[in-house]
């Protein structure tokens, strides 16, 4: 805080990096999925094209103030999430505003955008929107449980909730990663990760009819632009979070890219090989196996301490 | 003294019998009279117990007036006499 403007500048820098990274990541993923399916797929820069296209639309309709504000909430949620997280360990300019709060702040801020988005979409009056929101929210509630348990296990393991300190504790080789030192929590966390990324098989919220895709059914033009831009931030932020928590964090940008890309691919491949779950199934699944794993992870530390 | 004892026992048996009679007999008038007899015997026993005052009272009120009141009550509930068990 002693130098506010520097912090701000650094924040903008890292935002710029991460935005582009996120956009490219999306493009790469589309390509890979297409290849797996045996198609050629769109070019890697397709997300940029999409974004420019929707931002260029000249007319828009609004269903009301909340509908209007929904994407703002969403985007603010994505950027905020990113900004509350230390991105690269040891780097001066990739610390963002992580001094504002610890891991709990980050976890809870995930909901900010989702909630705002849900409100906006719901005002559209289109029945698919709340239906998608219901499915998305319902799934988030259960997938957060193993995640929370994993986080608790980490906090118990390291005696801190500060992400920076958790990352710091993992430095010095792969053997120090929480993946190795706390495999049960990692397992639980990664299962939760699948749900939080909302890829198949946990993407029922998009399902009502595939084409008008779930909550954003009624969104278009600049609204949609915000949301697409957000996707870059939001997905990257989540990836960074998991990387920080379980996989030793990153000390420089290449490591960051490598680790997050691998993580993303993990989610994507699980999605590619698995059919979509119905909501009940996914809730039941999360409340059984990942939660049980999380409970074991926590119990280990309950009895250890 | 022995004689008195004998009398008491005899009267006691008589009282008990008439009390049982009073409860067992169907006819209410007989029943009332039987209770009167119990009181009468009781007043005699009171005499033997050296309680002349009680004896007089029992005879006049317990055996006499009380029986009479019962009989009047019977009279007022006449039609019921047939149906008592």
């Amino acid at each position: 805080m002693d130098n506010f403007w520097t912090t701000l500048l650094y924040a903008f820098l890292s935002m710029f990096v991460i935005f582009n990274y996120g956009m490219l990541l999306g493009g790469v993923v589309y390509k890979i999925i297409a290849r797996v399916h045996g198609r050629f797929g769109p070019p890697v820069w397709q997300p940029y094209v999409n974004l420019l296209k929707v931002m260029g639309v000249r007319t828009a309709i609004s269903h009301g103030i909340m509908f209007w504000l929904g994407p703002v909430f969403r985007f603010a949620g994505g950027i905020g999430l990113f900004l509350f997280m230390p991105v690269v360990f040891g780097s001066v300019w990739m610390q963002n505003f992580s001094f504002s709060g610890d891991l709990l702040l980050v976890i809870y801020f995930i909901f900010f955008g989702q909630l705002g988005m849900a409100l906006g979409a719901a005002e559209s009056g289109h029945p698919y929107s709340p239906m998608g929101i219901m499915r998305g929210l319902a799934q988030v509630t259960v997938s957060e449980v193993p995640f929370a348990l994993a986080v608790i296990a980490l906090a118990a393991q390291h005696g801190t909730l500060s992400i920076t300190e958790i990352v710091a504790a993992q430095q010095g080789g792969i053997g120090n990663w929480n993946m190795m030192t706390n495999p049960v929590a990692t397992l639980a966390g990664m299962m939760a990760f699948l749900g939080m990324m909302m890829h198949a098989p946990f993407n029922l919220h998009l399902a009502p009819q595939e084409i008008p895709v779930g909550p954003p059914t009624e969104y278009h033009s600049n609204f949609l632009g915000y949301m697409q831009a957000n996707r870059a931030f939001f997905a990257s932020a989540k990836l960074i979070l998991f990387m920080n928590l379980f996989f030793g964090g990153a000390t420089n940008i290449p490591v960051l890219v490598g680790k997050t890309f691998t993580l993303y691919m993990f989610a994507v491949f699980v999605g590619v090989v698995n059919p979509r779950f119905t909501l009940e199934n996914s809730i039941r699944w999360f409340i059984r196996i990942p939660t049980a794993t999380g409970i074991i992870a926590v119990l280990i530390y309950t009895f250890k301490n | 003294m022995e004689l008195q004892h004998g009398i008491i026992i005899l009267m006691g048996i008589a009282m008990i019998l008439s009390a049982i009679l009073a409860m067992v007999v169907k006819d209410l008038i007989s029943s009332v009279i039987a209770v009167g007899v119990v009181s009468l015997f009781a007043s005699i026993i009171y005499l033997l117990l050296q309680a002349p005052d009680v004896a007089m009272t029992e005879a006049a009120i317990g055996a006499g007036l009380s029986t009479l009141i019962f009989l009047y009550a019977l009279h007022k509930t006449k039609d019921a006499e047939e149906e008592n068990d």
């Binding site: - | 006691g12 009282m15 049982i20 050296q50 309680a51 029992e58 009120i61 317990g62 009380s66 019962f70």
Partner: protein
Amino acid sequence: MNIIHIIGFILMIIGFWGLLTQKNMIKIVLALAIVETGLQLVMVTFGFIKGHTAPILDSSELVKGAAEMIVDPVPQALVLTAIVIGVAVNALMLTFVIRLYQKKKTLSITEYKDLKW
């Protein structure tokens, strides 16, 4: 320990028997009268002292040595009161029976169960 006590108690038991088994209300009142008679016998007997005379001091020896010669007068006084009260209660009870009879034309106590639970 006096035989009259036994007589009194037996009378009371007979009276209770009547109270419990007789359905006719007049008989129930009669049963109560038998119980009372038995009770009064028991009470007077409590004051009886063997060889003592009635508490009427009609001779000068009696006046002087009353305490050693007369039976206990107190139970007698009490029973006197009890008898009169008993009759008063019985009379009142009978008037209730009469009035009840006029309402339902029956003396059977089992018919008067409108108030319950």
